[in-house]
Each structure stands twice: as structure tokens, then as C-alpha cells.
Amino acid sequence: MKPDHQTSRREELAGWPVTIDTYRLGEVYHCTVSNADPGARIARADGSTREEAESRAVEKATRYLAQTRRFTT
């Protein structure tokens, strides 16, 4: 199989820049949300539609990102 319907976009979630990558393989959409720097995966989810996969992944990522503290340097 070849992946299709691939998208990648930058957004801000809970005040942090992230990358949302989605592709379809067969009948399943796979979505991964990564922090923009260093690019580590925060959350991922699958779905039968793009919207379903992305909304699940974004919900989880937002929850994790909201726990990140900023310190005064």
C-alpha cells in the first residue's frame, strides 16, 4: 500500500507550537502531533476520517502540553 492524503501543518496548542501530521493508509487515517522543537511525538490517534483521527490526537496533545511549565531564566 502507498500512503495518501498526506498533510502536515503547524499550529499552536496550549501555547506551544506543534506539527500535526496525517496520512491515510488503506482505510485508516493516522495522525501524529509532535512538538515543533525538538519534534518529539506527543500524541497520536487513528480514525476512519481525517477529522476523527486529528481531533483525537489534538485532544490528547493539548492535555499533555498544558502540563508543561515555563520557568524564569
Binding site: M1, K2, P3, D4, Q6, W16, V18, Y23, L25, G26, H30, T32, S34, N35, D37, P38, G39, A40, R41, I42, A43, R44, D46, A61, Y64, L65, Q67, T68, R69, R70, F71, T72, T73
Partner: protein, 279 residues
Amino acid sequence: MAATIPNVLVTTDWVAQHATDAGVRVVEVDVDTTAYDQGHVPGAAGWNWTTELCDTLVRDIVPADKLESLLGRTGIDNKTAIVLYGDNNNWFAAWAFWQLKIYGHDDVRIMDGGRKKWLAEGRQLSTDKTSFPAAKYKAKVPDNSLRAFLPEVQQAMKSKSAALVDVRSPQEFTGEILSPPGLPETCQRGGHIPGAKSIPWGKNCNDDGTFKSFDELRSLYGAQGITGDQPVIAYCRIGERSSLTWFALKHLLGFNNVKNYDGSWTEWGNLVGIPVEKP
């Protein structure tokens, strides 16, 4: 040093043509340990860095006997050409590469651009669990000249006997955050090792995930005084991002004396009474 791409990198085209050749084994190693199941290079094995590329009892790299077992069941013997790739521009592919070199495997390569480039090119993906005929593997005595432990890093900080390269994000370097956004905090203090240079790992790579050219890498590190004339110790948070920088310095730039400090900030940032520099 040679201004050519050395034979430790292969292209996605090469992998598409040779992934299932006899004597070649392609292995995916991801930060996201579920990524392999979402589709991988046909014929590739998948290794889980959290369980298969470490000692799960003591904090340490994979023990020799465990590595021998992993390679054996992946159908890899001492003469196999191992081609590694993964997500995040090959973070954990580099982590696996570093450990395989510690244990003396001769022919290890990285697919330039990793999973990102393979996907972007719309290449074939498989969700099949591949099984391999068992092979016998014998690890060599660990080469710890590739690895820095805490006492050596402390000595380097005091005596400037090695250049310390912090490859984490600028926000981690300054101590504004204790871990990458969205990931658990795993240290008590933020900041960096006194005297360390901040050269984030991502600067080694192009937007498509491939490594920058020899000249670009030489310029990047040379601008910070990292020229290969002095030993270098790279570190990050747990040692995987710094293994990518270690790979670039050791195998793409050809520096002789480069070590990865895998204790990294999760060790240094938790020690009592040890100096920390901010910002």
C-alpha cells in the same frame, strides 16, 4: 576528513531497491514506538527502543547478551549490512547505530531522511509483521571510547579537556523548560552544563530530514569552535538526540574523538550539588 558522503548513509532509492536483499536487513527504530505498526518499509524489522535497546532493570544501554538475542531473532549475523531508519529525522535510528558501533558491528548505515522522507515520497508501506530466520550473532567487547560517563564529563567541565555540546532546544538549554513541551519533566533543575555550547540537534538536518552536507556541517560546528582538534562530548536529555549529533560529528565529519553522554540532562540535572549554568 573527506568531503564526501561516507558509506554510512544510504538513500531512500537504495532502500527501495535493496531492502530485501540477502545480507541486508532494514530496521525501523522510532521515538513513537507505535509508528512501525502504522506502516513501514516492506521487509523491515521494527525495534522498540524502550524495551529492546536498553537494559530495562538498570539504566544502561542494551546488554550484550540481549543485543545478541535481538539481532539473532531479526535474522542478523555479524556480516549483515544493517540499515536503520526512523521518525524524527532518525533520532532513535542514530541511537541504535551508536549502540551497534559500541558492540563492534561493522556494517551499519542510516537511511538518509528516515521515515519522514520515505512517507513524503509516497513510497510503499507495509503493515505486515515480518519474521526472519534466526541467525547467530556474537557481540564484541563494548567500545566505551564512544561513550562518556559522568566522571569524564565532570572532568571535561573543569579542565576544558573536551568540548561539551548541548543538543537540546534553546528553551531547555536556558532552563526555561525542563523537558520538551508535552513530555514528562524528568529532572529537578533546568539549565546546562557550565561551558557547554548550544547546537540543537535539528541543525544537522535539512527540512526533508536528510543530513546537511559535509561543508554545511563543518561550518555549523566550526562557528562554535568545534573543529575536531579537541575531543567532543555531546549530550541532550536521555542521549538519543545527542547520538544523532554524535553520528554527524563522528561519521559525517570524521572527527576522531567524539563521545555520547547518554546520562545526559536526566543525570546531570538531578545530581545534588553539581554546577548548573543558566541561561
